[in-house]
């Protein structure tokens, strides 16, 4: 276990020990280690790297450190910047998990139920990857879809997220009232400057899904200069559109579980858009 104090040191440590695994909050990784599922040859702890524990502003964007904890992102100052990410962070589990788990860890472990992931997908976040060859940038969706991978010695350093200054919503359906794993989740953001609605559905597939046609269709209905009001029927149709796009039939007859999931996604998408437009 090494504990570098900067990203450069961390990259150097990972390059020196290619078998080492980086660990931040450890809420996924250490549980797997304790269960005997993983036995990393060495660990590189990222907890002492101060430069990735906060955020900074960068021409209309926020550059979020990968070491931001869910607890930190859930606080009101952060919520004022990126409300949906803050809501996802607050929903991400019990306080013990939120205090330890990090934004970068949520992306790196890429669990289908990762709560931050649909929000990052809806925000079209860009990952700033640091590695032995310097920095490079990849869209979060590319990493989650496996189109681009982290190379040896590379780390997620920062996450660049646009500051949209407009309502954003994160909702999830779980099996219980207390913290629980998402059955389905939705991140939805309004982008008035580009007159866009962007939405991603989490937990229904290995990576968050973007219903692009539904987004464009509903954005075209919204009166962006006026009250941004939509008829209930339009909200309903948006939900159905999103659900049909994100939850395929998987054979005939359609299984009851699929129908329920589709209905759940439709309700979440409809409510998310409704809340975004009325808040």
């Amino acid at each position: 276990m090494t504990l570098p104090a900067s990203l450069d040191e961390a990259v150097a440590a990972l390059t020196a020990m290619p078998a080492a695994v980086p660990v931040a909050g450890g809420t996924d990784l250490m549980a797997a280690v304790n269960a005997g599922l993983l036995r990393p040859a060495a660990l590189v702890g990222l907890g002492r790297i101060n430069e990735i524990r906060g955020w900074q502003y960068q021409d209309g964007h926020a550059l979020l450190g990968a070491g931001l904890t869910h607890a930190r992102m859930g606080r009101p100052d952060f919520a004022a910047l990126i409300p949906a990410l803050a809501a996802a962070a607050r929903a991400a589990g019990p306080p013990q998990i939120r205090n330890a788990g990090t934004l970068g860890g949520n992306i790196a472990s890429a669990a289908p139920t990762g709560d931050a992931l649909p929000v990052l997908a809806a925000l079209e976040a860009v990952l700033v990857i640091v590695g032995p060859g310097g920095q490079r940038e990849i869209p979060v969706s590319h990493l989650l879809a496996g189109r681009e991978m982290l190379r040896p010695g590379e780390l997620i350093g920062f996450v660049r997220v646009p500051l949209l200054h407009a309502p954003q919503v994160f909702l999830k359906a779980t099996g219980r009232t207390g913290p629980g794993r998402a059955v389905a989740s939705v991140g939805l953001v309004l982008d008035p400057a580009r007159r866009g609605v962007r939405c991603a559905i989490g937990a229904v597939a290995p990576m968050p899904l973007r219903p692009l046609e539904a987004e464009q269709w509903v954005a075209s209905l919204i009166d962006w200069d006026g009250g941004r009001i939509l008829a209930p029927e339009a909200l309903e149709a948006f939900g159905e559109y999103v659900a049909a796009a994100c939850v395929p039939d998987q054979g005939e007859p359609v299984a009851p579980g699929v129908l329920h999931l589709r209905r759940t996604v439709a309700v979440l998408a409809r409510r998310a858009l409704g809340r975004a437009l009325t808040s």
Binding site: G36, A173, T177, H260, T264, V267
Partner: protein, 784 residues
């Protein structure tokens, strides 16, 4: 001091709705702040502080010089033939001290708490996912685990039987056959019919007892060739006997020492851990320790029986029950365990606490390749309660009668007959319980509070939307039996000793958290007037007290402690009575003083006990019961306990998410022995019931357990636990029970899921015939 007093006051206030005379004896005249003592007082458990501070030692904390670590190899398949087991690679690993398999079991190769049908290690066939095949002792836990993984087992996969309905026609999964028990209960006239008939099919899922502390143990070899097992056993003498049989030892060469029990709502400990542990200790001559992972815990121990129930209720036009027909099919998993008893409870209570003139119930419990089922509190009774209460709701809907009113027209009372032909001789205040929960005012709607303070289904900041939330109110009435049934010899032995004014209780009744230790102290305080009472740790060198199940220890062990304390009392008072020329009955012990009936003689207890050493041992054995006969008839139960619950739920009818707002509980407790402890037991039982109703189901696919972890298996959190409002504790003393008290833990578990399902039915209009209630079953059209 003030903190504790405040806590007592809160607990008392909550129960005070019905209880008036609950003040601590002598509290009024005592000048100094009085510590609660004796029967009826909220005496605090002796280990509260250690448990809250985390210093209380559980089996996983035990240590011995030079100990080895054990690991168990478990089957990854639900059903397979073992072609070969090669332990060579594992045995040759550095640090490995012993590897044991079926071939190394010196004594009986099968075991079981009730029927010895379970192999210590699978050798020819594995019958469920997680069945133990071999065990390893090594000098490091990781080495042990790696060595266990290095054991090469060659399997020939067999088709698993996972649907209990298919078990009847399937090839035998076990030499004993697939049918473990069949009870055809016949009571009354099969031709009887009612004007209204409702039918229903109900499915109950697999609840795991999910103890907060997973299984752990330490085995220490003895110089005499025996072995000591340090473990959180809830039935130490039975565990000792089966361990001794498997080790090929005399029972007195095996000693089970009970450590702190980290949660037990079912049988502990899993013998599949303890037997390999003892074998490894005997084999290596070293102490061996094992602490199970959560996954192993889920795979190893027994679960609540998944049950399929088919019902037909007949009633007349006024809603009075005429006939109940039912078929009950329980899934035992691969081994019998407590299945026969669970089935008896399910069949006997299939009609619930209602008067039914004619009943025809067929019950079967069969083997499958699913995870093993066994005793979990309220077993059998809980599954049927969900079904018969579903039927009562259906009947109410068919007749257009209010659900509570329909139940009220049918409630059982003392003197009525159960469908087993047994007369209910104990107090059965079912009508009073139901009336109490029905008449208490409903919780307020949150409409006056700011909207962001509403706790909607889905949780704070969740997806819930007020416009889609419907509130439902439902009822559940349940019953359980207390003590072992059908001729079980229920007996417990306890010793009380007093030396120099301090008393000790020696009784092998395990305090699993049910509070027996506290109760034993209260009894001795009450009878002997001493303040200082300790309860000795339990081991099998003490006389047997039987398992911690079915509220036994409150009854039989509490009764034994009381008798022993009374014998000590007689020894203490005899010389004084003799001197005064009166019988000991004319002397009383109160507030730490011995006084004669006329007040002429008075002496402090401490003074009377000075320099004396008094011992007494006594047994308590309640009246015998008989097995159910070929028609399911017989006086099978010693005592019954009842409970009524009104559930109020909020359902988001678009997402199907359910939040239980409030559970109003009225319970038949006989007598309140410790108000705070009683309240805690009811809250704990209700919470376990909430889990069974909404989230707890150990899922399997083709017999393989999915997600054996606490993320996948969702226990209720604090946010899921509703307000538990104890509106009435009916104190009608059961004359045959010691102190007249009834055990309180199991019946809320039985009743809660039925009440919640009833409330979800009311909110959604959906049938809700499956537990746990899945969101898809609670989705409804907005105008229904």
């Amino acid at each position: 001091m003030s903190g504790q007093d405040a806590a007592t006051a809160t607990a008392t206030a909550a129960v005070n709705a019905t209880v008036t005379a609950m003040t601590v004896p002598g509290a009024a005249e005592a000048a100094e702040p009085q510590v609660p003592r004796g029967i009826g007082a909220s005496v605090e458990a002796a280990d509260t502080r250690a448990k809250t501070e985390g210093t209380f030692p559980y089996a996983a904390d035990l240590w011995a010089e030079g100990l080895l670590w054990a690991a168990v190899l478990r089957s990854p398949h639900a059903h397979a033939r073992i072609l070969s087991i090669d332990t060579k690679a594992a045995a040759e690993m550095p640090g490995v001290r012993a590897v044991v398999t079926h071939a190394d079991v010196p004594g009986a190769t099968t075991h079981g708490r009730r029927i010895a049908d379970r192999p210590v290690f699978a050798h020819d066939v594995v019958r469920h996912h997680g069945e133990p095949i071999a065990a390893v002792a090594a000098d490091h836990p990781d080495t042990a685990r790696l060595a266990a993984a290095a054991i090469a087992v060659e399997y020939e996969l067999l088709d698993p039987v996972t649907d209990p309905e298919q078990s009847f026609g399937a090839p035998a999964l076990h030499p004993d056959g697939n049918l473990i028990r069949h009870i055809p209960l016949r009571y009354g006239d099969p031709e009887a019919t009612g004007e209204v008939v409702v039918e229903g099919l109900y499915r109950i899922g697999r609840q795991d007892p999910a103890p907060i502390g997973a299984e752990a143990g330490l085995a220490v070899p003895r110089p005499d060739g025996g072995v000591e097992l340090y473990t959180a056993s809830t039935d130490p003498h039975t565990d000792r006997d089966l361990a001794a049989a498997c080790f090929g030892l005399e029972p007195d060469r095996v000693r089970v020492v009970v450590t702190g029990v980290p949660g037990a709502t079912a049988d502990r400990e899993d013998a599949a851990f303890q037997l390999p542990l003892g074998l490894l200790a005997l084999r290596t001559g070293c102490p061996v320790k094992l602490a199970a992972t959560r996954e192993e815990s889920f795979l190893g121990h027994t679960h609540r029986h998944p049950t399929l129930l088919r019902y037909r209720h007949h009633a007349d036009a006024e809603g009075r029950l005429i006939k109940v027909e039912a078929q009950i099919l329980m899934d035992a998993g691969a081994y019998a365990d407590a299945s026969a008893e669970s089935l008896a409870a399910a069949v006997a209570f299939a009609c619930g606490p209602y008067v039914v003139p004619h009943a025809f119930v067929e019950g079967w419990v069969v083997r499958t390749n699913n995870p093993p089922s066994g005793h979990v509190r309220g077993e059998g009774a809980m599954q049927v309660c969900a079904a018969y209460e579903g039927q009562m709701d259906k009947l109410a809907a068919a007749l257009g009668i209010d659900g509570a009113e329909l139940r009220m027209r049918n409630v059982l009372a003392t003197g009525d007959l159960l469908p087993t032909g047994q007369t209910v001789t104990c107090p059965a205040p079912v009508a009073e319980l139901l009336r109490s929960v029905r008449d208490v005012e409903l919780p307020a709607l949150p409409k006056d509070a700011p909207e962001d303070e509403w706790l909607l289904p889905g949780g704070p900041e969740g997806a819930g939307e007020p416009g889609a939330v419907r509130r439902g109110v439902g009822y559940g009435v349940g019953m359980v039996h207390m003590l072992g049934a059908e001729g079980t010899d229920e007996v417990s032995t306890a010793t009380v000793k007093v030396i120099g004014g301090a008393a000790t209780v020696i009784c092998a009744a395990v305090d699993t958290g049910q509070g027996f230790g506290t109760l034993a102290r209260q009894i001795v305080q009450e009878v002997l007037g001493v303040d200082e009472v300790a309860v000795a740790p339990v081991d099998t060198d003490q006389p047997p007290a039987g398992p911690s199940a079915h509220g036994r220890h409150t009854w039989v062990s509490g009764g034994a402690v009381e008798r022993a304390a009374k014998m000590v009392r007689t020894q203490l008072l005899q010389p004084m009575a003799h001197k005064l020329g009166m019988s000991t009955e004319l002397l009383q012990i109160q507030d730490g003083r011995i006084t004669s009936y006329d007040g002429a003689f008075s002496m402090s207890v401490a003074e009377a006990m000075a320099g004396k050493e008094l011992w007494a041992t006594a047994q308590c054995r309640p009246h015998p019961t008989e097995p159910l006969d070929a028609d399911g008839q017989g006086d099978a139960f010693v005592g019954l306990a009842f409970c009524a619950i009104r559930a109020v739920v909020d359902v988001d009818i678009e997402l199907g998410s359910v939040r239980v707002v409030e559970l109003a509980v009225a319970q038949d407790v006989g007598r309140i022995l410790n108000p705070r402890q009683l309240e805690a037991r009811i809250e704990a039982g209700v919470t376990q019931g909430v889990g069974a109703a909404l989230t707890e189901n150990l899922r399997t696919v083709a017999g393989l357990v999915r997600h054996p972890d606490l993320t996948g298996y969702a226990l209720p959190t604090a946010l899921d636990s509703p307000t538990v409002r104890i509106v009435k504790l009916v104190e009608e003393r059961d004359v045959v029970a010691p102190f007249g008290a009834k055990a309180a833990s199991a019946v809320p578990v039985v009743t809660t899921p039925a009440a919640i399902a009833s409330a979800v039915r009311a909110a959604t209009g959906r049938p809700v015939n499956r537990l746990p209630i899945r969101p898809s079953a609670a989705v409804a059209a907005p105008n229904s």
